[in-house]
Point group: C2
Chain length 200, copies 2
């Protein structure tokens, strides 16, 4: 079985696979999960539907693999500015406004679909949310170790809620994608004061 | 034209109209905007599709009217506890956990759809977001008037981002609907400290 699966997979080159995943994510952002059809994927990528079904099994599997394939850009390991404010600002500046707009559209497109689709939810959490959370936790832990943030500060548990919430609320309330300028301002106005860190 | 429209509308009693809107909102929460069909509304409400189209014109109009019809519960005018913490807690306690779960599902169902559908976005903002914002602004203004919050506190501009963000992030990160307990804890840990208000 494994061999057959391997043989099947090898029919598609990694470049072609990346191209397909990229088209799936584009469609997700444009129309959302429910309205995304295998027909549209086939048309956009000039594949046959039969190939898509043979290779991925179905829409949830294809979308989950595409999300899984989209790695959040860069590693944080090299960010260590010596202050929580510096680290959070650097984290924010890793994604340019265009990438943030794309992530925002992707999040919107998936938010409804992950509900009631465990495979998709798993891919979404494992490959988009959890790597982000791990990075923010590392940054926060260093701030605690430096004595910048008290270990028992109640806002520490809500680090990700503050950041993801700002991201989501910006789209919803202001009808515009989150930008670097907005997130830097939010970090200074909300996140750092909640954590008891002076911003000047 | 107006008279004809009035006559048409009068074929449906207000009770029947409310019943239809409630069914539309239920369907929205269950399947989202894209997957919601006029067929499903007709089946759920035992109406004919012809009646639905004659009465509302189409899906965006029907959904916009349904959202417009769902008033956020109760008026705030009677909430005035004398402290920002008390007011924010009272605001939160107005919706029980079941209502919050419903609002969270509704928000999820609409988040994708409002994008690219100006009528729906307008109904969503006018009838769900803006009344909430006005209430939070009133509460905040009273806190500024009392001297509890500085007028130039930068977090004041993000009051709604903090609250809506907590609501949205809870669903996304913790895979559970926001509860009263969660929001009260978030208000104490994040919102009040960001606004410079001591929580004890």
């Amino acid at each position: 079985m494994t061999e057959v699966a391997t043989v099947r997979r090898s029919r598609i080159t990694p470049e072609r696979e990346a191209e397909l995943y990229s088209a799936v994510l584009d469609l997700l952002r444009e129309v959302g999960y429910d309205a995304l059809t295998m027909d549209a994927v086939a048309a956009r990528t000039r594949s046959s539907k039969a190939t898509l079904y043979r290779q991925w099994g179905g829409k949830p599997e294809l979308v989950a693999k595409a999300v899984r394939h989209s790695k959040p850009g860069g590693s944080l390991s090299d960010i260590d500015t010596g202050s929580l404010r510096g680290d959070l600002h650097s984290l924010t500046l890793r994604s340019d406004d265009c990438q943030m707009e794309q992530n925002s559209a992707l999040m919107r497109g998936l938010a409804m679909a992950v509900h009631g689709n465990p495979d998709l939810l798993k891919a979404f959490k494992e490959h988009l949310i959890e790597p982000e959370m791990a990075e923010f936790k590392r940054v926060l832990q260093r701030a605690v170790d430096r004595g910048e943030v008290r270990a028992d500060n109640p806002a520490a548990d809500y680090m990700m809620h503050m950041m993801i919430g700002a991201f989501a609320a910006r789209t919803l309330l202001d009808e515009q994608p989150p930008t670097q300028a907005f997130l830097l301002s939010y970090i200074d106005a909300v996140v750092l004061p909640a954590l008891g860190v002076p911003t000047s």
